[in-house]
């Protein structure tokens, strides 16, 4: 293993740590908002780190671009999802999505 | 002990778990989940048989069979859910 591989390994491990932290937060934190916060923050960061770690290992710039896009999509979906959950929680737990 | 056996064995356990749940639990949604887990178990066996180690390309035939199976399973699930919805909504329309 040369230093690039070591760097990858460290970054991926760090990313995994963030995921664990996010999961622990989801399970242990008291209310929905802080859980949401922990989860999205940790996941976004964790995935970003894992992506950075894998980036030097891929075959070409196109694959790297795909990885970047995956991260951006997850960011977008995560942010929207968190927003929707929070909005619904603020309005009270009715079936407000129905007509 | 080999990877195909280990993975195939997990498939058989999934099949048995799903079968048990299907026979024990009544509600439609739980039955459908059980059937899908059983199906997943069978697919898992086929995927495990297709795996020939990391040095050799896997067998594409079981892969295609499983792909077909997945589409068939989701079709059946969709129809069953529609029948269940019709049952819940009563005889209002038609």
């Amino acid at each position: 293993m040369d230093w690039i591989d070591w760097l990858s390994a460290v970054l991926v491990a760090l990313g995994a740590l963030f995921f664990i932290a996010g999961t622990v937060g989801l399970l242990r934190l008291p209310d929905l908002f802080s859980r949401l916060h922990a989860l999205t923050k940790a996941d976004n960061l964790g995935l970003g780190l894992i992506m950075l770690g894998v980036l030097p290992q891929v075959g070409g710039p196109l694959q790297g671009l795909k990885l970047l896009m995956i991260w951006l999509l997850v960011l977008l979906a995560g942010a929207t999802g968190a927003h929707l959950i929070a909005k619904r929680a603020l309005r009270g737990d009715g079936e407000d999505m129905f007509e | 002990m080999s990877a195909p056996f280990l993975y195939g064995a997990a498939g058989i356990i999934l099949f048995a778990l799903g079968l048990w749940s299907l026979l024990v639990h009544g509600p439609l949604l739980r039955r459908l989940i059980a059937l899908n887990v059983m199906g997943g178990g069978v697919f898992h066996i086929l995927i495990a048989v297709a795996y020939r180690g990391d040095a050799q390309a896997p067998d594409p035939v079981p892969h295609a069979l499983v792909l077909t199976g997945i589409v068939v399973a989701v079709s059946a699930t969709a129809l069953a859910l529609a029948l269940g919805r019709r049952l819940d909504s009563g005889d209002g329309d038609d």
Partner: protein, 510 residues
């Protein structure tokens, strides 16, 4: 180059597509205005025309395929030009051809009847595409020579059948057919597990190749894998064929479907699952068939004959009676298994296989006729409660005659095809020294006579003499012809079945 086997699948499949397109513009359920009704009638007529055309083309192709097998022997075609084991083959021997021919006749009868039965509303818009897909699946199943292709056909059959059965939309129909769908799915998954085991062990899916590999394995004294696979597949298919005691889903599902659908389900769909059991036991996995397993099937069959006939006798409704009678009739077919496994290949065994096929065909025609007639009774009387059927013969003489003819075939009176079938079965049982099956057949026949006469005695109540024999040709004639075919056609022409099987024996086509 015309591949008639492929056409038997493609004609109904493309017909289904055509009826899907023709069904555009039907009003939504609940729309009741005058223009809506007019629109519904217009669309409905269009779909009927397209559908009838498609079923005529399909039946013609099926009959051509049957005739070709009869004249030239087995048909086989390797799709995609890859050849087995890589590609998929379809093939037809005498057994497949006979099932194709029966399906063509029953499908024609049901289709003609449906144009009259579904003349109101938009139900025809939903009926035709699903019905043509059901025919596709049936044909596909009868000519399939590949274990996984059979799985796809089974699923197509199960989904189309459950959707058709729920067409009336009544609570009973939807709940019974939801249960039928789930049972069918369970059966398919168990079958697929058997296929997965076969692929694990032999790495092939073509029935002919699997048969050779299994034979080699069994000859080497190692039959555990094929026996387990056969057990799994049979269990899965027994669920679908409603083999006692896995018949619980059948009576409500068949009794609550619209009459043409009940006829198709009882005459064809259940038979297709049973056909596949026969195909596996006598052809694809035949070397792995064990006597103990066959005796178990025979015992379940005996249970089905007794229980099904008894329940039919106690049934309050005509369609429920017909459905329980189907359970019993599947039982008779199972009684052949313990004999077939014991008897070595030869004329006696060929005789038994032909008799089995003859009984299946007779029941197919007779039960289709009975269900179609029951549907007419239900439409005319507004119900099908047997106790209140007095005077039906006066209102619907032709239909009552149809019920009597179908009853003759169900009991197994001469000259019906099932008389010949039962006769050969009893001969075989006595020749093999397994006389107890004869007792079961005798009790079942007596019970069948009792439930048929129970209906007829109600129907011939003392009422004024009818003025017209036939009230509506379009619906009454197909039912009558099917029942007549079961009694006279297959009874007097039972030699045809022997000819067909002799010209294309099993195990050579696939």
């Amino acid at each position: 180059m015309i591949d008639w086997l492929a056409i038997t699948i493609m004609a109904p499949l493309l017909g289904a597509v055509a009826t899907v397109l023709a069904g555009s513009g039907a009003p939504l359920p609940g729309a009741e205005s005058e223009t809506d009704r007019e629109r519904a009638d217009r669309v409905s007529r269009r779909v009927h025309r397209v559908g009838l055309l498609a079923i005529l083309a399909s039946s013609a192709a099926m009959l051509v395929a049957t005739a070709l097998v009869w004249i030239d022997g087995p048909l086989r075609s390797e799709l995609g030009g890859w050849g087995v084991p890589l590609g998929i083959a379809i093939s037809a021997d005498g057994l497949s051809a006979a099932m194709l021919g029966m399906t063509a006749l029953v499908a024609l009868g049901i289709s003609l009847y449906a144009t009259g039965y579904f003349c109101r509303g938009t139900i025809s818009v939903h009926f035709w595409p699903l019905w043509l897909l059901l025919v596709t699946a049936l044909n596909g199943l009868f000519i399939a020579a590949d274990l996984f292709n059979l799985y796809v056909m089974l699923e197509l059959l199960g989904l189309a059948a459950a959707a058709l059965g729920a067409l009336t939309g009544s609570r009973e129909a939807v709940s019974a057919n939801l249960r039928y769908l789930l049972v069918g799915l369970l059966g398919s998954i168990i079958y697929l597990l058997g296929v997965a085991l076969i692929y694990t062990g032999y790495g092939e899916l073509d029935l002919g190749l699997v048969r050779a590999s299994v034979a080699a394995d069994v000859a080497a004294g190692d039959g555990m894998l094929p026996a387990s696979a056969l057990a799994l597949m049979t269990a899965g298919l027994a669920l679908k064929a409603a083999l006692f005691p896995m018949h619980f889903w059948l009576p409500p599902a068949h009794a609550n479907a619209p009459a043409p659908v009940s006829a198709a389900l009882s005459a064809l769909v259940v038979k297709a699952a049973f056909y596949l059991i026969v195909r596996l036991w006598l052809d694809g996995l035949a070397p792995a068939a064990t006597g103990a397993g066959a005796v178990l099937i025979g015992l379940l069959g005996a249970g089905a004959v007794l229980w099904g006939s008894w329940q039919a006798l106690r049934a309050a409704r005509l369609k429920l009676l017909a459905a329980y009678s189907t359970v019993a009739q599947i039982g008779y077919l199972c009684l052949f298994f313990p004999l077939l496994v014991e008897i070595p290949p030869g004329p006696l065994r060929e005789n038994l296989i032909a008799a089995l096929l003859l009984m299946a065909l007779t029941h197919g025609l007779a039960k289709a006729g009975l269900f179609l007639a029951a549907g007419l009774v239900q439409q005319s009387a507004g119900h099908d409660r047997i106790e209140e059927l007095g005077g039906t013969a006066q209102n619907l003489p032709a239909t009552t005659f149809t019920i009597a003819l179908a009853g003759t075939a169900l009991i197994g009176l001469p000259p019906s095809g099932s008389f010949v079938g039962k006769w050969v079965l009893m001969q075989g049982a006595i020749a093999e020294g397994q006389w107890w099956w004869v007792v079961v057949i005798a009790i079942g026949t007596l019970l069948a006579a009792a439930y048929v006469f129970r209906v007829l005695s109600r129907a011939f109540g003392l009422e004024p003499t009818p003025t017209r024999f036939v009230t509506e040709v379009r619906t009454e004639l197909p039912a009558f012809l099917l029942a007549l075919g079961a009694v006279a056609g297959l009874g007097l022409g039972s030699g045809l079945v022997w000819d067909l099987l002799a010209s294309a024996p099993m195990g050579q086509g696939g």
